[in-house]
């Protein structure tokens, strides 16, 4: 493959930028600890550069972009139905939830609405991906703090949810199931009962984790009072999701700005914790998994019958216009700003993913902490690299 001049120049520039950072690090005072891009704690390719004084961090920088895959640009050369395949891979632990806001934005532009049954199943799968995502977080959190066992329990019980997702959509990680105007298929036979059994399993998992991890004195002493984010700071950095609710801000898009999903017809609660430390963020997530299992149960009971797909043309052309839809994804607020010029594909897609904003507070938060607390704080902020870099 021959590179164009522009590509070669871009490559040289990138190399030079990397070199400048390294020179800056070498000439700096104190010890510089470079964590990543390959490091066991970053579960992905996040690079964290911490300047240390002994074991204390004097300043820390987060460098992302090592996993940038250019999804926003790629969306421009795909047709609307093809985009879901891409955006599946943004937050790879809760894939279905990535598709929903994009499809909702496209539906808003086309002025179609999915039939009620499709909306209910969307909400159901949305919550299932939340459970699949956040239950793994709980295991991973313990792993970061040195306990191996909960991670395996998390993988074990998450499997029940993944099986349910797989039997509806055909994909364990990347369902690609949402369509403009509805869903690809209806639920298979006997699925509802299996799902309810899986939810019982997941609630048992939550109880187990509450005893094994959250109730552990060592865990509490590692997380309580570590990495405190006051509510005002959390808001000014644009945090969302459990990171924001862990700081005591009662804000949840599912309740406050619900579009296209059926949360307003369900009975559920937004959990918050006033402390704002690592423990409260983790605690809020645990409660959200529990809450999600009850939401799934309610949807299973109240699922309306009817069509799964609204009437949409075979070749989808979205009328010119702009739409921004954000939903409360497992990691926080995820929004798609879609600009259409009337073609089969979007003209421009801007993805607002939660982790990018959530990780932006890290330099502020890491100043003055000890090296072990870096891990606690990063783990409790809970980011997915695909969600940061897109």
């Amino acid at each position: 493959m021959t590179l164009t001049d522009a590509q070669q120049l871009g490559y040289i520039n990138a190399q030079a930028a990397d070199g400048r950072v390294n020179v800056e690090l070498e000439t700096d005072d104190g010890m510089v600890l470079n964590m990543g891009p390959q490091h066991p704690a970053t579960h992905g390719t996040l690079r964290l550069v911490a300047r240390l004084d002994g074991e204390q961090v004097t300043s820390a920088d987060v460098m992302c972009g090592y996993m940038h895959r250019g999804y926003e640009k790629l969306c421009e050369v795909r047709s609307y139905p093809q985009v879901t395949t891409l955006v599946n891979r943004i937050d790879w632990l809760g894939s279905f939830a990535n598709e929903v806001p994009f499809i909702l934005a496209a539906e808003q532009l086309m002025e179609v609405e999915a039939p009620p049954r499709a909306q209910w199943i969307r909400t159901l799968l949305f919550e299932l991906s939340r459970i699949a995502n956040v239950s793994l977080f709980i295991g991973d959190l313990a792993l970061q703090l040195g306990a191996q066992t909960p991670a395996f329990y998390a993988f074990r019980d998450r499997e029940f949810v993944l099986n349910q997702i797989e039997s509806v959509t055909g994909g364990r990680f990347h369902p690609n199931f949402d369509r403009i105007g509805g869903l690809k298929d209806d639920l298979p036979k006997g699925w509802i009962a299996e799902t309810k059994a899986a939810m019982v399993r997941l609630r048992a998992f939550c109880d187990e984790m509450e005893g094994l991890v959250y109730g552990n004195e060592i865990f509490q002493s590692r997380t309580r009072g570590v990495g405190i984010i006051p509510a005002a700071v959390a808001q000014s950095y644009g945090l969302s999701g459990a990171n924001l609710r862990g700081s005591g801000v009662d804000w949840d898009l599912r309740r406050d700005a619900n579009v296209g999903l059926v949360y307003d017809q369900l009975d559920w609660k937004v959990w918050t914790h006033p402390d704002g430390d690592s423990y409260s963020r983790c605690w809020v997530r645990l409660q959200e998994v529990r809450e999600a299992t009850t939401i799934v149960d309610q949807i299973c009971d109240g699922l309306p019958s009817g069509a799964i797909m609204a009437k949409v043309p075979r070749i989808i052309k979205v009328p010119a216009g702009e739409a921004y839809i954000a939903t409360e994804n497992p990691l926080g607020q995820m929004g798609y700003y879609v600009v259409s010029k009337g073609d089969t594909g979007p003209f421009r897609v801007k993805i607002r993913s939660a982790s990018f904003n959530n990780i932006s507070i890290a330099p502020w938060l890491l100043r003055g902490v000890y090296v072990p607390d870096i891990i606690t704080i990063l783990a409790s902020l809970y980011f997915i690299l695909g969600d940061i870099d897109r």
């Binding site: 313990a142 306990a147 191996q148």
Partner: protein, 346 residues
């Protein structure tokens, strides 16, 4: 090693010596292998609800050989800026400390390498030699993770050496001797409120010391919850980060052999060592049964050690130090005080 009069054979000095060397190798490698297979492979899999080795040999028992083969095949990489000589000798120092620990362990009435009057004292002294190896490894690797890990390990091992020694002092006071054979005999001949059937394993009277000893052991082994020096989610694997192939294997054997050594010490001090109730201490058969009895007791202690390893998250460095100095050492001191008072009173 076995004084060969037991077998009724007279051997030359060099033959006895080579038998001893062989004996040490068996004594170190066998428990290490058993601990890795039983606890790290099998028990961990059961506890963590995952599949352990199953394919290689019956119940995956040959997996151990496969792992060793894997490490031997790997390239031995030395970092460019490492201090080569120190980098090479560090794992041997760690391993030597483990080997020496077994030199004072009694396995039966006549089965021992040396029978020193200050046996337990020497054992505790030798166990801290490994700190030097770890510090050297951390420094010589020319890696920041290794350095942090090495320094953390040094701080931790020094802090937990003290409660360990203090815990042992309680036993020594009760037994009235530093000789490990003497401690075994004291437990075998002791009696519980006039009942002398099963002797008096010091676990019953020194349970506080046993607890402190186990916690300190956990810290000395740098296992969870005290695995800050090798915390893989922060500093990769600490002082072992740059090691690969054979040298990593040596560290690995050292870790598990040390676990075996500390389990053996705990079994000797608190569980009666190689002695069996109702069997005379001088019985010749104990020369053969004794090592097996000790091994069984080692596995019991090992179970406790590894159970904790698979359950807890890890302490932070400052919490770990505070735990040693603020809790363990005062508890061990109070234990000594109470033991002394009771020793004088009865």
């Amino acid at each position: 090693m076995i004084s060969l009069s037991v077998l009724g054979v007279e051997l030359a000095y060099w033959q006895v010596t080579s038998l001893r060397v062989l004996g040490v190798l068996v004594a170190v490698v066998l428990p290490a292998g058993a601990f890795v297979y039983l606890f790290l492979f099998k028990m961990m899999s059961f506890m963590q609800s995952r599949l352990g080795p199953m394919e290689a040999g019956p119940f995956g028992s040959m997996q151990l050989l496969a792992e060793v083969g894997k490490f031997l095949q790997k390239e031995d990489i030395v970092p460019e800026r490492a201090d080569r000589r120190l980098f090479f000798i560090a794992p041997y120092i760690v391993l030597a400390s483990t080997f020496l620990l077994f030199s004072v362990m009694p396995f039966g009435p006549d089965v021992y390498f040396t029978n020193l009057d200050t046996g337990i004292f020497l054992a505790l002294g030798l166990s801290s030699v490994s700190v030097i190896g770890i510090l050297i490894a951390g420094w010589a690797s020319a890696n920041k993770y290794s350095l942090i890990g090495g320094i953390r390990a040094a701080g931790q091992l020094i802090a937990y050496e003290l409660p360990m020694v203090l815990a042992v002092v309680g036993v020594v006071i009760q037994a009235g001797t530093l000789n490990l054979q003497g401690i075994v005999a004291a437990q075998h001949q002791g009696e519980i409120f006039g009942f002398s059937g099963i002797g008096n394993p010091f676990l019953l009277t020194q349970f506080v010391a046993f607890g402190v000893f186990l916690v300190a052991t956990q810290a000395e082994l740098t296992q969870t919850p005290f695995d800050m020096p090798v915390a893989e989610s922060e500093i990769v694997t600490g002082y072992m980060t740059e090691y690969s192939g054979l040298r990593f294997l040596l560290f690995f054997i050292g870790e598990f052999a040390t676990a075996g050594a500390f389990a053996a010490i705990a079994a000797t001090l608190f569980l009666g060592g190689w002695a069996l109730p109702f069997v005379s201490l001088d019985d010749n058969s104990m020369n053969f049964i004794g090592p097996l009895v000790l091994f069984a007791k080692m596995l019991m202690v090992g179970f406790l050690i590894f159970w904790a390893r698979f359950t807890f998250p890890r302490f932070r460095e400052d919490q770990l130090q505070a735990f040693a100095w603020k809790y363990l050492i005062p508890i061990a001191l109070i234990n000594i005080l109470v033991t002394m008072i009771l020793k004088v009173a009865f």
